[in-house]
Point group: C2
């Protein structure tokens, strides 16, 4: 079934303890859509400047990602983020942000995108996320991401959003901030009361937790020594999850759990190199192979 | 098969963000042996002062824990620890330590304990741990715990110990300190090279990782909202693990993984109340029930 993502497309400059890269391809919608494309076609809505190389657009298109919703602002510059990771590769410091054309991003869905069954609202202002929702025609599943900025500064709008979505995906630190509860299990249950029918709390190297009225579970990350760059791992997780759901055409508990596993495994590849580099070297069969290892790891 | 633990028996005064307790029963050998006793009889070696209440000794004995190795120093005082937990219930600050009789602890195994098939050397100086090893007669499986103090201050002795043990159990922060590696998967593999045939890295609320030459896996903690006091969770984990191994009489990969799961589940009960309070209210069947839930949680 059709899967739509609305989010950022960006240039990232990244410093890790051992390596650095300048102006590589990044952004939430980029990581999401590439990761989802292992499972299903994707419709992408985002904005870039005319400094955005055509080869990147072609790269996305080659993956069955429909870029009809990728707006190019002539004379504008693409969103730029520069960050530095701590030795633990979990904590990071933002060194520079240039919102550029993303600062004025008022997403407008192409007519052909309005009827999309699965919708992912990548991290963005809840006002923008709500405006996207208004433009859709009866999506079957709406999942959103958010971040500390909106929890702090647009709380009322966020609460309004939560009542309109089916699923919420967020980081552990954001879940604690939102609920003022340090226990993630308690936090997950509190967030359910705000509206979403399910909540996924991402724990980085420790995996992800799932909460719904009848289910609470945690799945660990796939253990990997090769953590080169964690940027985009969360969006990659969401992409794998939503892509798999769209491919199955349902979001039954069983399908959701498989989707969580696939999300974890796509992300486990994403962190093994910068940008989309590692994902470009694998195929769906690699994911299925790792799924087999992961299943075996968790059975006893 | 017979299971021997050598470690501390203590009084703990504990402050959590919401509650506090004074001079409750604690210590590594206490938590270990009570947890192991759900699965197998235990032989305990430790030391207390004559201020140690007989009711605590009786409590241990009622669980098929042989206290013939619990030395009572007349006129001495029992090891005392006072600590305070941060709101996240993971980080804690030591407010006071009185080593008392534990400061001069030179464990001497009763003759009847020397031939014990399964041996757990709870956290202590590696010199002491080695001296215990010298007193044993052909144990089949020797597992040790350690801590940052010994990594920093008795490194050579610790390296000597590592060459004599089969398994090592330690916290994530200690594994990072020992290997100077922030990636726990890399750290686990580095520690294997120091001697142990398997390594378990405990990650608190995030579960535990297992490393051997042929296997690397991670199992999450059992998700619980009710975290009242995490003190003793690590020793409780080790007790559940070793108790199950002793009950099965082998340490094949399959048995080790089941033992890891039982360790995680006993610890998930331990944290639900202070001291041994929660464990005193459950039976083996509760652990088996939770094991079923845990297995279901991890299958998809």
């Amino acid at each position: 079934m059709s899967l739509l993502v609305v989010g950022s497309v960006a240039f990232d400059s990244i410093q890790t303890p051992t390596q650095s890269r300048e102006r590589i391809l990044g952004g939430s919608a980029t990581h999401f859509s590439y990761s989802a494309s292992f499972f299903a076609p994707v419709r992408l809505v985002g904005v870039v400047g005319d400094d955005f190389p055509d080869e990147y657009v072609q790269l996305l298109r080659s993956r069955n990602i429909d870029t009809a919703g990728l707006h190019v602002v002539q004379g504008g510059k693409t969103f730029f983020w520069k960050g530095k990771y701590e030795p633990n590769m979990n904590d990071r410091e933002t060194l520079e942000v240039q919102l550029n054309v993303f600062g004025d991003f008022r997403p407008k869905l192409p007519e052909s995108f309005r009827r999309s069954e699965f919708l992912f609202l990548a991290n963005g202002s809840p006002v923008t996320q709500l405006s996207v929702l208004e433009q859709t025609l009866g999506p079957r599943l709406v999942v959103a991401d958010t971040m500390d900025l909106w929890i702090r500064e647009q709380h009322a709008e966020l609460m309004k959003l939560f009542k309109r979505i089916d699923g919420l995906v967020m980081n552990d630190s954001e879940a604690k901030l939102l609920t003022d509860d340090e226990n993630l299990v308690a936090a997950g249950h509190k967030i359910l009361k705000l509206g979403p029918r399910f909540v996924v709390i991402k724990k980085g190297e420790h995996g992800a937790m799932f909460f719904s009225e009848h289910e609470t579970y945690v799945l660990p990350a796939f253990p990997t020594q090769r953590v080169v760059d964690p940027t985009g791992a969360g969006d990659s997780f969401a992409g794998g999850m939503m892509g798999y759901l769209a491919s199955q055409g349902n979001f039954e508990p069983k399908t959701l759990k498989e989707a969580m596993a696939y999300g974890i495994l796509v992300a486990s590849y994403t962190v093994e190199d910068f940008s989309l580099d590692r994902l470009q070297s694998i195929s769906r069969s690699d994911l299925d192979l790792r799924l087999g290892q992961y299943r075996k790891m968790l059975s006893f």
